[in-house]
């Protein structure tokens, strides 16, 4: 491997650092010992974001590209804050202001540029320093000083109405100073805009309180110790406390000029970014002049760095830079501006597409040359900038439809009704079904969404289009829609809705599940329908119900909750969660005797003895000698409560004894789904009464709020207040009435939260409290009948109702 060459880079700005990065990316570390001179005491930073720092939208730290460590890590020697004084081409070395001498084999000049400061009278103090209040807008330090000085000042002037000038103005406004922009040219941003656009921009800026003076040639800075104003060639003047000079850039090319390289506005370079005079010396960025252009933007500078790196490392010896396409975007005073390429048509072959809406501050102009975008100006609405800039950069052929270049058309269509949908509109993506196919299916005789879905498979994928399909079918059937009736059956096995089913059972005196199948289902038994029917018949007939045990789910046959291993969980009744040492003793003994693997406190304030064998159930019940807690059935389960008034500091109502009353009243009542209740002694809701099927919450003045339809399971819902009552008795009355109404009207397995949402609390309140349907007393009678019919099922321990009811394994006869 040949020994490394010395590569020296003068300048540590975006250009220099970027060039070095590109070189490293091409294995430059093995080719060169790299040394850099940087006259700013930082690692390099992203100059194009400077204005963000000035206007406070970004932190300084955020715009640094490479922290100082980066140089170490990459074995780069960086002379921080050392200004390169001269290049000695004959001895091929660079002299630093601190006396450093760095010999080079290859040299990169990336000295960047400085603000162009017009020769103004009174710009400096006698000692040559800028007069206090005079600033250029260029470096991080400039930003800091400007910000520092601006605080508490009244008025600032910005010399220069170009991109940088306007950004400075925008920054200054944030410090609450009144800003005037002074532009030498006849209109603002003359590099990027045309007079029309500039005029609109001017109006907007003036509306925002920024003064704009056009065609003004500044001649002097006024003020003795500090800036007090400006004077212009036309002898007019302007008072101000500070002046920021942003009148363009002046490439730092002296060092190159002094060592005999050709310099016009900047160092002249060839397509490899080499000085046209010296193949060992490259120049990149704002100090380089390529085909007459000096670029002050980041994109071109990076393109140059790539080519330079490709060439200097030999990675691509034939790499060449052919100039950059210039596009800029900025926000001035809240006005968004995007500009690219040429601003005026070169000749009549150029096609111009234009749209103006001065009132709104909108201006759009495209210049199209043989089908490709040659230039564009967007003001106000720049929504198409992203696309246009790409078309401009990449020279993609432009769509014929010019309008679409200026405006977003063909954007997602607004919501249309199913009638409006075209026949070929895709309805179901999963199964590629369009509207026409659905209509055909309907005309083919399918008149229910369900049927159509099964036939066409629409909606049978991710299911998201089901509602859409239903809509279309409904519309297509207009009127003769037969929606699938089965969804309304109370149980799948009997083709009747709940009201019809109740009616039929009453009229035809059907008191057993088997009778219902016989009469109403053509004798066809359906296992899944049995428990639902059992529960309903019990609701209808209470005492007269003919109980057939095979219709019950196993839990209801043996009055305990079956566990995954086939054993059962036993939960005795403990009203209000209030128990006694004696009960606890019995529970403990029983748990031991039947060696329950686990004894657990339940969420319903009871005690669960788990892992009991089926055949032991009767025995444990006898030993416990407590009633069933019904913790296994679609019935009233429990009523949780807090300590209430007895001992609690906050209690305003006696929740415990109310809970006990409720339990003794409603114990064992069966329902379409389980019922979990609670009472709370105050709105602190310790017993979670607001999220129960029914909950009573004590409020000031000894009153009770009754909540219904709460849930805190997989579904969480705060209950709705049914009514507020004055006594325990009323709580019992309305709770029972509500529950009977729920028993009669809820779908099987529909919890109260679903029921209340479906019926609506207003309706329910009017029926239960306002007796709007005049059924209140009937409801009360009905529930009382069921209450009267209550038997503790655990008494079956003494006389089982079916043969071998509790045996899990039987011997054979012979």
């Amino acid at each position: 491997m040949p020994s490394k060459q010395n590569l020296v880079v003068i300048g540590n700005g975006m250009a220099g650092a970027r060039a070095v990065e590109e070189i490293l990316a091409r294995g430059g570390r093995d080719l060169f010992n790299i040394t850099m001179f940087g006259d700013e005491p930082y690692g390099n930073y992203n100059r194009i974001l400077l204005s963000n720092v000035l206007n406070g939208s970004q932190e300084e730290s955020e715009i640094f590209l490479n922290p100082l460590e980066w140089y170490r890590e990459n074995g780069i020697i960086l002379h921080v804050g050392v200004y390169a004084e001269s290049i000695l081409r004959r001895s091929k070395c660079v002299l630093g202001c601190d006396g450093t001498i760095e010999p080079y084999d290859k040299l990169i000049v990336a000295t960047g540029s400085q603000s162009f400061v017009p020769p103004l009278e009174g710009l400096t103090l006698p000692d040559g320093r800028y007069k206090p209040g005079v600033f250029v807008f260029r470096t991080l330090d400039d930003c800091r000083e400007i910000a520092e000085y601006a605080r508490g000042r009244g008025r600032a002037a910005v010399i220069g109405g170009g991109l940088l000038g306007l950004e400075a103005a925008r920054g200054l406004q944030n410090f609450g100073v009144k800003v005037d922009v002074i532009q030498f040219a006849p209109y603002l941003m003359n590099q990027q805009l045309d007079p029309q656009a500039a005029a609109i921009l001017k109006t907007i800026m003036e509306r925002m309180g920024v003064g704009v003076l056009l065609g003004k040639n500044t001649t002097a800075v006024l003020g003795e110790e500090a800036v007090s104003g400006l004077r212009f060639a036309d002898d007019t003047s302007l008072g101000c406390d500070m002046v920021v000079i942003a009148a363009g850039i002046k490439p730092n090319a002296e060092i190159a000029a002094r060592c005999g390289l050709s310099v016009q506005r900047a160092i002249l370079v060839d397509n490899q970014m080499r000085s046209i005079d010296d193949p060992e010396i490259y120049a990149v960025g704002e100090c380089a002049q390529h085909r007459g252009n000096v670029y002050g933007l980041v994109a071109p500078l990076w393109e140059q760095a790539k080519v330079l790196a490709d060439h200097i490392t030999g990675h691509k010896p034939d790499a060449a830079y052919h100039g950059s396409k210039i596009a800029t975007k900025l926000k001035v005073m809240g006005v968004e501006v995007a500009a690219m390429g040429i601003t005026e048509a070169a000749d009549e072959r150029d096609e111009i597409v234009q749209f103006t809406e001065p009132k709104k501050g909108t201006y759009k102009k495209l210049i199209i040359r043989d089908g490709h975008l040659a230039g564009a100006i967007l003001l106000g609405d720049i929504s198409k900038a992203a696309y246009l800039m790409q078309a401009f950069d990449r020279g993609t052929p432009l769509p014929e439809d010019r309008l679409s270049l200026l405006f977003d058309i063909g954007a997602p269509a607004k919501q249309v009704t199913v009638q409006e949908l075209p026949p070929d509109a895709q309805i179901c993506n999963c199964n590629g079904v369009n509207k026409a196919a659905i209509l055909a299916c309907v005309n083919g005789g399918c008149h229910s969404p369900k049927a159509v879905m099964e036939k066409t498979r629409a909606g049978m994928g991710c299911g998201s289009c089901k509602s859409m399909v239903t809509e279309i079918v409904e519309w297509a059937c207009d009127g003769k829609l037969e929606e699938d009736p089965s969804v309304h059956y109370y149980v799948p096995g009997v083709p009747l809705t709940k009201p019809d089913l109740i009616k039929a059972c009453r009229e035809q005196n059907l008191k057993s599940v088997s009778a219902v199948f016989q009469v109403l289902a053509g004798g066809k038994e359906d296992a899944a329908s049995k428990p639902g029917l059992a529960s309903l018949l019990n609701t209808i007939w209470a005492g007269e119900y003919v109980d057939e045990r095979d219709a019950r789910f196993i839990n209801d046959r043996v009055h305990a909750n079956i566990q995954k291993d086939g054993t059962f969980s036993v939960i005795p009744q403990i009203p209000g969660g209030v128990t006694t040492p004696d009960q606890l003793r019995r529970i403990a003994d029983a748990a031991e005797k039947y060696n329950a693997p686990m004894v657990k406190l339940t969420g319903g304030q009871r005690i669960d003895i788990l892992g009991i064998k089926k055949e032991d159930l009767p025995n444990i019940w006898r030993d416990l000698d407590m009633p069933s807690g019904y913790a296994y059935a679609k019935r009233y389960r429990t009523c949780k409560s807090c300590v209430g008034t007895d001992l609690c500091r906050f209690g305003v109502g006696d929740s415990t004894s109310l809970a006990i009353k409720i339990e003794q009243h409603l114990q064992g009542i069966d329902a379409p789904a389980k019922l979990k209740l609670a009472t709370a002694g105050c709105p602190r809701n310790c017993s979670e009464a607001m999220v129960k099927d029914v909950g009573a919450v004590a409020v000031e003045g000894g009153r009770w709020e009754i909540y219904v339809g709460g849930a805190a399971g997989s579904h969480v819902r705060k209950g709705d207040v049914l009514c507020v009552v004055d006594s325990h008795e009323d709580v019992l009355k309305y709770t029972a009435r509500f529950i009977q109404y729920y028993r009669e009207n809820a779908k099987y397995l529909e919890r109260t939260y679903g029921f209340v949402e479906r019926i609506g609390i207003e309706k329910i309140r009017s029926v239960i409290v306002g007796d709007s349907e005049g059924i209140a007393s009937r409801l009360d009678d009905a529930i009382n009948e069921s209450i009267a019919a209550y038997k503790d099922p655990w008494k079956e321990a003494y006389n089982p109702v079916t043969p071998n009811q509790f045996s899990s394994l039987l011997p054979v006869l012979q």
């Binding site: 038994e525 086939g566 071998n804 045996s807 394994l809 039987l810 011997p811 054979v812 006869l813």
Partner: protein, 102 residues
């Protein structure tokens, strides 16, 4: 041939589990007094099939509601069939079962 039990040992529409020569077997009696016999434990998670719900000759496991046809043992909503055993009522209304091995 095993005489399992009198028909009356099983309530109509329910099942019971019997120990037949060391093997646990579920025997069912439909409401129309037909009898069937299958393996005792659900192949899914060993649920006690005899505790399941019956609808005609459809059996539903109490644990996860897998379904079979008692007559054939074929799954109606499950992954695998049930082992079934020939079983009938003798003149004295007793349930008589034949283990496949016999």
């Amino acid at each position: 041939m095993t005489v399992v039990a009198p028909l009356s040992a099983i309530p109509a529409g329910e099942g019971r589990t019997f120990l037949v020569s060391g093997k646990r077997i579920a025997v069912f009696r439909t409401r129309s007094d037909e009898v069937f016999a299958t393996q005792a434990d659900c192949p899914h998670k060993a649920g006690p099939l005899a505790d399941g719900l019956l609808g005609g000759t459809t059996l539903v496991c109490p644990l996860h509601s897998w379904k079979w046809d008692l007559a054939s043992g074929e799954p109606l909503m499950a992954s695998c069939p049930l082992e079934t055993y020939p079983v009938h009522l003798d003149s004295e209304e007793r349930i008589v079962l034949t283990l496949n091995s016999e």
